[in-house]
Amino acid sequence: GAGVSQSPSNKVTEKGKDVELRCDPISGHTALYWYRQSLGQGLEFLIYFQGNSAPDKSGLPSDRFSAERTGGSVSTLTIQRTQQEDSAVYLCASSLGQSNTGELFFGEGSRLTVL
């Protein structure tokens, strides 16, 4: 498809387990973002990739969270030793990067539930 694709759409896991969430951005988009939205909250910035630059990890809430972007395309967000407070919808977005108006294209999100 032409849009941002995220998988899985839903993930239920037990506390303490590791999870991986995947994002496939729009082809040609150099910028990729991860946000999360907890119940009743706004969009919380997690991490930002722009081309080959070092990622902006300033939003990652703890060292249990990490993300990588392989080959400038697909990104994986990994949460180790999940906690109940990690339950949220994790949203990925991509954009054309620095030479544009900033419009982000979002995926439909991965809903994570930690029991």
């Binding site: 941002v4 910028a31 973002y33 946000y35 909250q41 706004g42 969009l43 910035f45 930002y48 722009q50 902006d56 949203l91 977005a93 954009s95 620095q98 030479s99 108006t101 900033g102 419009e103 982000l104 294209f105 979002f106 995926g107 439909e108 999100g109």
Partner: protein, 111 residues
Amino acid sequence: DQQVKQNSPSLSVQEGRISILNCDYTNSMFDYFLWYKKYPAEGPTFLISISSIKDKNEDGRFTVFLNKSAKHLSLHIVPSQPGDSAVYFCAAFIRSGKSTFGDGTTLTVKP
């Protein structure tokens, strides 16, 4: 330091009337301001944007106004329709950096 703020978590208006959603920012270096709309169980979708060198941009029923001196922008929806009921996020973008979002305002348009 929250650089983009939406101080009203919710807004309720009658169908056919005007909806005005507000957003304040602190960083004068933002290049663009954008509004996104989000329905439940979906990702946000782009609605309308405005360059920092403009003061108004209009697209159909949606108009965004930018007041740089006050570091304030607003989204006007006229006339409001029940299908406009959603969460609206204000965002600001610096070309050399990333997008920053507000916490969102839930708009409910009553038939």
